[in-house]
Amino acid sequence: MSVTQNAPANTLGLPEKLRLEARLDKARFNPASLVLLAPATVLLLGLFLVPVVYAIYLGFTNLQLIGLHAVNYRFTGWANVNTLVHDATFYQSIWLTVLFVVGSGAVGATLLGLVMAIAMQDCLRLIRQIAGALAIVAWTLPPTTIAIVWKASSTESGIIPTLLGNPNYDLLYDQAMLIVCLANSWSLAGLAMIMFSAALRNVPEEILAAARLEGASRAQTLFKVTLPMLRSTIVTSALLMTLLTFGNFTLVYLMTAGGPGNQTNILPVYSYLQGFKFFNLGYSALLGNVIVLISAVLGGLFVLLGKQRR
């Protein structure tokens, strides 16, 4: 037996000649592929990585929009971080962000979409199509329109206060966070509904028939069979809604500009205010970095959730 000492044990009984050859079914490296990958690499580096790294750097400088440090800014080390950890508004902002993203996005929009999809599953085709079309229109509306519609209907003499019986009631002022959350859920629910409608159609008819034959009520079938089978769609929808909500700066800013007080001052709004209202671009960039971190954590969390099988 002439087995080389450092070679792995030849348990397969391969001929010596073959053991030295590269396997055909394993990935092989072709140098020419580097040339083909180069344009994408350059674009990724130039348009994504460099700006991100630069933004991270800016977070540790005293750059301002106008004034003394607008041009002659410098690296200030942990000064911005020090401000951040003592900034009460920042902590409030984090809490509001979580509330907004999870409450109106991950939970609110997903739940609303799911309920609509289930409700429309067995209804008349015409009604289903009209309702579906309306929900999709709500989703495709630009954030400006959504902001105006909701602002107009929730402030004094708007339709919601009128329906509540008091046209002079400024609901948006009184319950700013709630209304902003509702507006966001409302605008995203159409998308969630489309996802759930598709997923519901993929639940095999025979499985539902089997549950029915075994004597399960409609509610039991829904909660014990249908919803568990929609699990991966629910996770996907929650993730998507989270990401879409996180980026929904426009809606909140246009409706309340973070107010009244700081009641709707979510992180993107706070970052904008710091940079463009108070001119602290450096600090604003640091807040932006925090947003990126939170997004990354949330994204990772949902991916993990989706990977878990049970």
């Binding site: 095999p204 025979e206 499985i207 028939a209 089997a210 549950a211 029915r212 034959l213 075994e214 004597g215 399960a216 009520s217 039991q220 014990k224 069979v225 568990p228 089978m229 699990r231």
Partner: protein, 380 residues
């Protein structure tokens, strides 16, 4: 007893089921067989309550169950796709029905164990459907249907997704299980071998109608028409064109160059059509060198194809332009292009009306006694 009374199922202006009349006796293993699209699954679904008949009534003993919701019919069904709940373990799949019906937990656990041992799933209770093989999934589906000792047990082509070997084994197992448990069973299949081997009685469907309901032996020996004759039995019954002429008490038959007469009592009906089709099974056409002496009628043809299965050889012989399949002894020295002599006994012939396809033959004497079905005694 389950009874279909004038049941119709109409889709648009197409009738999937025409005026169905059928009785399924208690404890019986009834098989619905027929080609795809013949209405057998639709009939099963109407019995399960998954489809509503357009007209007619379905009775369970004296109770009208036509419009009863499927959950209240006390039927259990095994679907072709098994329809297992993919997110539940085998154990929870089995326990789902009793759980949603609110039965006591201890009792459910007991029953799950009992059923699991009945279908051989004890070691797989913690697995989920996607971790099981086709045969194991099939057992789960079977166990899930059996866990509640239903009034009727429905199976919709449960073996069609299994490989040939497993299918043969499951065939015996299901039939044996049904005999042991003794529950009224309706089994849908398009495979006549399954139907013949499993059923107490078989209902042959074609194009929305039941053509014949009888025991496997009677279907084979006395098919009511050409469709049943060719559908039941493998390889298929040969259909040969023939001319009839009645002379006194006997009937003369001319078929592919051979002429013979059969007794008139043998054929039903007063006005025999002049042109008929003769049905004869490949097993009943013999090679002259290997024929029983009672075979008197002879025809000659040229071998067009030879199929050997090992235990027997089927030879396609071209007799005056008609392909005749006949059984030869295994590994008979036969070559394509050779001229062979075939013989048969007119007693083995089936006579079908060339227009309607209905049989003209009375039950041959000595074979007409019905092998009476006796339901199994349930053991519980």
């Amino acid at each position: 007893m389950i009874r279909f009374e004038n049941v119709w199922k109409v889709y648009g202006n197409y009738a999937a089921i025409y005026d169905l009349q059928l009785e399924v006796r208690d404890g019986e293993f009834m098989v619905f067989v027929g080609p795809s699209g013949c209405g057998k699954t639709t009939t099963l679904k109407m019995l399960a309550g998954l489809e509503l008949p357009s007209f007619g009534r379905i009775w369970s003993d004296d109770k009208d169950i036509t419009l009863l919701p499927s959950g209240q019919r006390d039927v259990a069904m095994v679907f072709q796709s098994y329809a297992l709940y993919p997110h539940m373990t085998v154990e929870r799949n089995l326990a789902f029905g009793p759980t949603v019906r609110g039965e006591p937990k201890a009792e459910i656990a007991e029953r799950v164990k009992h059923v699991a041992s009945l279908v051989g799933l004890e070691s797989l209770l913690r697995r989920r459907p996607d971790e099981l093989s086709g045969g194991q999934r099939q057992r789960v589906a079977l166990g899930r249907a059996m866990i509640r000792q239903p009034r009727i047990f429905l199976l919709d082509e449960p073996l069609s997704n299994l490989d040939a070997g497993l299918r043969t084994r499951m065939r015996t197992e299901i039939a044996e299980l049904q005999r042991r448990v003794g529950v009224t069973t309706v089994y849908v299949t398009h495979d006549q071998v399954e139907a013949m081997t499993m059923g107490h009685r078989i209902a042959v469907f074609n194009q929305g109608r039941i053509l014949q309901v009888d025991t496997p032996a009677n279907l084979y020996r006395a098919p009511a028409n050409k469709f049943v004759g060719t559908f039941i039995g493998s390889p298929k019954m040969n259909i040969l064109p023939a001319a009839l002429s009645a002379t006194g008490g006997s009937v003369d038959v001319k078929c592919l160059g051979t002429e013979f007469s059969v007794s008139g009592q043998y054929l039903a009906g007063k006005d025999l059509p002049s042109s008929v089709e003769l049905g004869i099974r490949p097993d009943d056409i013999h090679w002259t060198k290997d024929a029983p002496s009672r075979c008197t009628q002879k025809m000659q043809g040229i071998v067009g194809g030879v199929e050997t299965t090992g235990s027997e050889t089927f030879v396609l012989v071209n007799v005056r332009g008609t392909e005749v399949n006949s059984k030869f002894p295994s590994f008979a020295p036969i070559r394509i292009g050779q001229t062979v002599d075939l013989v048969f006994d007119p007693v083995d012939l089936h006579f079908f009306d060339a227009v309607t396809g209905n049989t003209l033959r009375k039950d041959p004497p000595g074979q007409s006694e019905r092998s009476e079905f006796r339901p199994a005694q349930p053991i519980n």
